[in-house]
Symmetry: C2
Subunit: 347 residues, 2 copies
């Protein structure tokens, strides 16, 4: 890092031992005020900053936590799907920095996730990992070496700590809104990828709301998209083609698919809201800029990142504490695509 002063110089110049200097630097006990002052003064004068590697080698604490997230390849500058990851990163950064730790981030690019994780593991005290970053077995391997907190996927394996959003509740809420506020009964669901736990949870929530209202509910999603605009468009086309009359509402598995769906409805000359209500999930930035503005469910991604790091830090402090599972509430964001009035939807 740099060939500057060491604790030895500080010790020598201040007339104390390295032990005392070390204690002054972080212990806060076992020395007098005058001692502390002179040590601090010498340290400042020398511009001494304790060497982090040496410190963590001796104390077995890196003071760094890691964040693993999946990288969906070369998403262009307009890609929204990446956005939620950024929010998580920000939240995690905030929690870590505020706690005095540093945070190191790494994207697992498809293959080689384990190798990456290995290299990261060596540098951190613990890891928070976003769903989809790592195969389950790799996760298991990693978690034997350092504490791991899983984010955003409801299937928390291996008894790991977990922090996520209430996908099910959010989907249920938005579906219930369509039913009770807009008196709609014929509500279709456009799911995301079959393997996506989030998509599944959302479907379950959708289904629960229907059942709770005494409406007929399919056992499994009618159509699946891939969480992209075009995927959502295709899925909706398929759905429309399979019916003689369009449904009165379509609950999409996420915002991007919903936006793709909006275009399809336009093409079919179906008026959004008036004829077919549409809802998304995630509340991406674009959701309030499309016309009509999109009713959706906001996930507190930033909070998830923050909470996950908080959970990790707690675990680091007490490795034997019981497993922690946090499900953060989601927010229903009512805009116009469901039929709610224009006002209040603009901001």
């Amino acid at each position: 890092m740099n060939d500057k002063a060491t604790i030895y110089e500080v010790a020598r110049m201040s007339g104390f031992s390295t032990a005392t200097v070390s204690r002054v630097m972080h212990d806060g006990t076992g020395f007098s005020a005058t001692t502390r002052d002179s040590v601090l003064q010498v340290a400042a004068q020398l511009g001494w900053v304790p060497n982090h590697s040496a410190r963590s080698l001796a104390s077995r604490r890196a003071g760094i936590v890691g964040l693993l997230f999946p990288d969906f390849g070369e998403d262009g500058p307009g890609s929204e799907s990446a956005l939620y990851v950024d929010q998580v990163i920000r939240g995690a950064e905030r929690a870590a920095t505020l706690a005095g730790d540093a945070i190191l981030i790494a994207a697992t690019r498809g293959h080689g996730g384990l190798e990456l994780a290995r290299s990261v593991v060596g540098k951190v005290d613990g890891l928070v990992v976003l769903a989809g970053s790592l195969a389950a077995k790799d996760l298991a391997a990693i978690s034997t070496r350092v504490p791991v907190v899983l984010m955003a996927t409801h299937t928390a394996p291996h008894g790991l700590d977990f922090v996520g959003a209430d996908n099910r509740g959010g989907a249920a809420a938005i579906t219930a809104h369509l039913i009770s506020a807009h008196r709609i009964k014929d509500i279709a669901f456009v799911a995301g990828p079959r393997r996506s736990p989030d998509s599944r949870e959302r479907f379950v929530g959708y289904r629960q709301a229907l059942v709770a209202a005494g409406l007929q509910a399919p056992a499994s999603p009618e159509v699946h998209g891939d969480f992209t605009e075009s995927g959502g468009a295709e899925a909706l086309e398929t759905l429309l083609a399979g019916r003689r009359t369009p449904p009165r509402a379509v609950v999409f598995g996420n915002d991007e698919m919903a936006i793709g769906g909006l275009a399809v409805l336009r093409r079919h000359k179906l008026r959004v809201a008036a004829e077919v209500a549409v809802t998304g999930f995630d509340d991406i930035a674009t959701a309030r800029h499309v016309r009509p503005t999109l009713t959706t469910v906001r996930q507190p991604m930033r909070d998830i990142g923050e909470t996950a790091v908080g959970t990790l830090l707690a675990r680091l402090a007490d490795r034997s504490a019981p497993r922690q599972t946090t499900v953060l509430p989601t927010d229903l964001v009512l805009r116009t695509s469901c039929g709610c009035s224009t006002r209040g939807g603009s901001k």
Copy 2:
């Protein structure tokens, strides 16, 4: 980190010295193939991963680079301005990870930037810092300890390496487009904050294009906004109030102000493009969702992050190399707000 095997066990079990084990692990020279194999086998069997702290203490290389960025407080989930930071982060992460280094990120929250930076500095081999993260003097202090690469601000002080986007060229290009493609001569400019180097550069580009076309060019911006929607709106109101007829085009210092301007024009019953062409700068996500879609200039933020880390790594490899300055080209993104046809502007 964990109380697992050390290099000593590996050495003992493989029958070689720690030096040989160490060499096998990264040197790639000075031992036979059979030796390597048996060492590697024992290492794998023991599940040994070299302790990072020990390694970096002994080798004086952390294998970690840091990224400092400003945090604009509690920006809600819809805040666009934060977006570009995320792109930079992604780019930096990518470059670092691909180079086998890890990347550590930290947001400087207003005050205390120096302290944060200090703590980060101890953990990394070098730093890439985004404009606005640190006061100039703090930057100077930091850069005496580790190599620093500055991003996105054209005023690179202290002879530091620098990577940025061609703000001037972008502004010139978009202005020239208005002139040559749309035959517009009366073009106004809404600047950002007076102190913003980016805003200044953009104004210079705008001015250059006017001069190059033989048009009259103001010596300094007519009006200033603060890079926000409302600021842009206000600035445009001021500008309109100061003229008897509106300009045929307004080049805004960034997208958000331009979007604010769009609303103002609507209020004034002025048709965008047909009567007043509008352009932005940055190509934020919303730019292609507002109506009319916004013609703007895209900055390769991701590339800036990547390039900055690349530059840092190069500097780390050769500290005495001459100062590196990279200005990445910007892209003109033609949509409809300037008068270009609708097609091509949707995606």
